[in-house]
Amino acid sequence: MTAQRLISGGRIDRNKIIKFSWDDCWMNGHPGDTLASALMANNEKVIGRSFKYHRPRGIMSAGVEESGAIVTIGEGAKRDANVKATTQELYHGLTAFGQNAWPSVRFDVGSLSNAFSQFLAAGFYYKTFMGLPPFEWGQGTGTWMLYEKLIRRAAGMGTSSREPDPDNYEHGHIFCDVLIVGSGPAGLSAAAKLSQTGLDVLIVEQDFEPGGDYLNQSTTSVKYSQLLENINNSDIRLMTRTTVFGLYDHGTAGLLERVTDHLSSPSAASPRQRFWTVRSKHIILATGALERNIAFGNNDLPGIMTAASATTYLNRFGILPGKKIIISTNNDSAYGVSIALANAGASVKLLDARTTLPSKLSHTAKGHGVDLKASAAALNASGSKSVSGLEIATLNEEAWVQGGSEDCDLVLISGGWSPIINLLSHRGSKPLWDDENCCFMPGSTDEHIEIAGAGIGIWELSKCEVSGEVAAAAAAKALGKTTTDVKKPSSNGWSEKIRPLYEVKIHGKGQKSFVDPQHDVTANDIKLAHQEGFISVEHLKRYTTLGMATDQGKMGNVIGIALMAEALDKNISSVGTTIFRPPYTPVSLGAFTGRNFNNHFRPLRRTPMDEWNISHNATLTDAGLWRRPWYFSRHNETIKEAYIRETTTTRNVVGLCDVTSLGKIAVQGPDATEFLNRIYTNPFAKLPIGKARYGIMLRDDGIVLDDGTTWRLAETDYFMTTTTANAARVMVWLEELLQLRWSDLKVHVTSVSEQWAGCAVAGPLSRDILKSSIETPNLASDENLPFMGVIETKLKNGVPCRIARISFSGEMASEIYVPSDYGPAMMDLLWETAEPLGGCLYGLEALGTMRIEKGHVTGAELDGRVTLEDAGLGKMASNKKDFIGNVLRKRPAMVDDYRPQLVGIFPKNRKEIFNAGAILCNEDNISGLGEGWITGVTYSPVFGHWIGIGFIAGGYKNWISRGAIAADPVRKGNIEVEIVSPHMYDPKGSRHHG
């Protein structure tokens, strides 16, 4: 191929130079160029190397189906592998590199594999690499994994960066009445037709210039200019550099907009790409068609392209791609190509596989100096890194025979056209084979989708325009708008029928002809798949990897299916096709992510006291989505030193803890009592006003769902607290019960988790703190606020509050809640009193220590598999009323005495430490599933050694005087332990009663 930029013509701006580099060599291009056109203008031939055989590959097309010119763009963190040069707009300073080759795509050591290609047929890797060669001796996966290392290195395509992607991405949302995909003749005509209807229309174009096939014409069409003007003067939105990559349910489309990929120095404020979600009422697919190759010998050599792409390079980019050109076709479309190239000064030979030629077209072609030959086709290309000659086959009674050879520097192929039906396939519509046009046509759909233009096999530009208007009229009608009538185009625009032609070969003669060039799938691979029984198209695809490369079968699928049909002696329609999946063209993960990653991966929930805690030296930790104080280090204490001090201080003096993250639900209404009585296992019917009660909820299946306290504030007004972890789930559950099951109950539930800030005040002096913090100190007396008592009052600073005397730590304690905004003010007030008394602030770690000492359960114990009895809470089940879960909790295996039950755990040697997550085993059988497990451990300041909480078969009474082992092979090994009652500290609860 000796390509050459012409001195005039095309849609490029020759007055401006764009400098770019290709494999470290600087070159010139012009605005309006793609990387591929600029490389072609610089007469670069080998742009890529193939996946398996490392064969040299050049530019094969001018669009998204490109399977040869695949390169890496950029360096460092911005390196972008596997870019199709045909779709990359040129910009100043663009740096592109060849990939999958060493040292370069021009001289690639890997091409040695081409010499062994006969051994590397489809699926060869399923047949070997299992064991030691040659007979695959051995067992296990060891040998395979050695091979695998080498195979992985050889496979893959480009190399991606391992550095974090430095770019930003955005998400956007669009609503419209009609989404038009494609701005070619059909799409623009459809849009223009809709411009009068008042409908909200969005037209989307993947290219950087709207126009589609209009851009490939030798002169700018007047119609094109009119349509664009019409659209520009209307409210229609036109997006370029944007791909509709997928259609989803209910008229939703996914779009990728490439915002800065064509800019040399984008503004830092610009995202690189935007992912748009479009919700439309109607969709018009004007997506066009892709030209197909034909399988013939060495049809992958650089210098062999699809025929229409030559017109694109000529008319859009002002490049004459070759001087001595042979075109091989089986349909009318290549005639125009031959004429245009001949007019541009090339010597053109046109081989038409058909015996009857279109009379008018052939007359015109001949008139322009095209050397026309009927019943002929490309048979075998020659040349080392670029095509230099072509053997020609001629038809002899329907069989191909050798027909001489000719020198050439460019071979163009038109094997027919395939409508782009990908988007419709995304909707589950099965494509239908059309014998007349030799292509898959869009199948039927009952969704609101129209298809126009080459997408339904209309091959002539003016007819595509009409087809676009027809689609627009249908869309308008569906949306209740009227337009002037348009008649469907009468024909597809071809004067002579296409001849089915997928492979050209001479019987008995071997050749390497590629079907899917990107994955190096050859015609022989298809035949081998057939021979081995992989005859379903899906098996064919999977066995040969046909259509699984980055073009997703755009280039080779139809040929592969046709060859399988031939091998099976069936027609193509009965072989069928594989299903196209989204995305239509690959989409960066960054675009899907938008800004929701790294520290914005999930929302961070902070309590109103977050800053207050931090300013008091809190170290924070995650609790679900919440951030909570973990411990409050003083004088560089370690976490252990801190939590021991906090625990000791709280048990001996007083401690304050931010408990805002607990779930809080207002349960109100005349039937609130009845409701609570049904959802909690224990009775709530007689809970007096001004009292709180600890309650447990079960799931329908009788397993513990959650626990917490519920406070009765008034006759019909309750304040429920849940665990932090289950707050959302419990709320949903209550709403489900009230709306779906018990709509007769007059109860309203409102999540007030975010309305109330909470602080636990725990320790012997907690009452003193309360007294000096509320307006009426006497309300905090033991009479007015007994254990489980509730009061609503005001803090000394006038802030309204609700207080319940409840204890999680086991000390005399209260929880105080104030409206969220007053959280810090409450803390100031409480701390003002607590600090001088020698109190402390405590975090989750000390909270954990105290609750383990007490044997109180949390989410670590209530893990969704535990019954009331397992958790040692069997007494919480009322036998005087019905409640959720009561029936199913009595199933046999759930009431088995030997189920693991809650216990306390001491190390036998009190100096030893053990871990949560250890498995409790019988001391003489440290293996198998074990007898139980440990859910929490802590150093207990009360006991002066480590203690734990967990479950063991039969409960602690079953383990009195029996030795157990805490087995922790993944961390610490085995420790001998003693199983004790879970109520390790103050079992009678005398302390919290105060």
Partner: protein, 92 residues
Amino acid sequence: MIRIQCPFCGERDHSEFTYGGDGSIKYPALNAPIKDWLAAVFHRKNIRGLQLESWHHINGCRMWLLVERDTVTHKIESVRAAHIDFQKILKV
């Protein structure tokens, strides 16, 4: 994206909702025989085609809805409030 016509909020993306489950299940009385509870909790018709199902507009009005939806095509035939009283109010 499935688009659900919430009777309270209008047409919204399904990502605003959470799917509940089979909306045709009638949960038995709290003291019903165990076999009724086993059936309601563990057994599913698992319809391929049009089914009645519950959705919760969790990031919207927090109302539970009953939706008739085809489990193959995802087409929605009807949406109504799950709570019987709201159904009545919305009908008026």
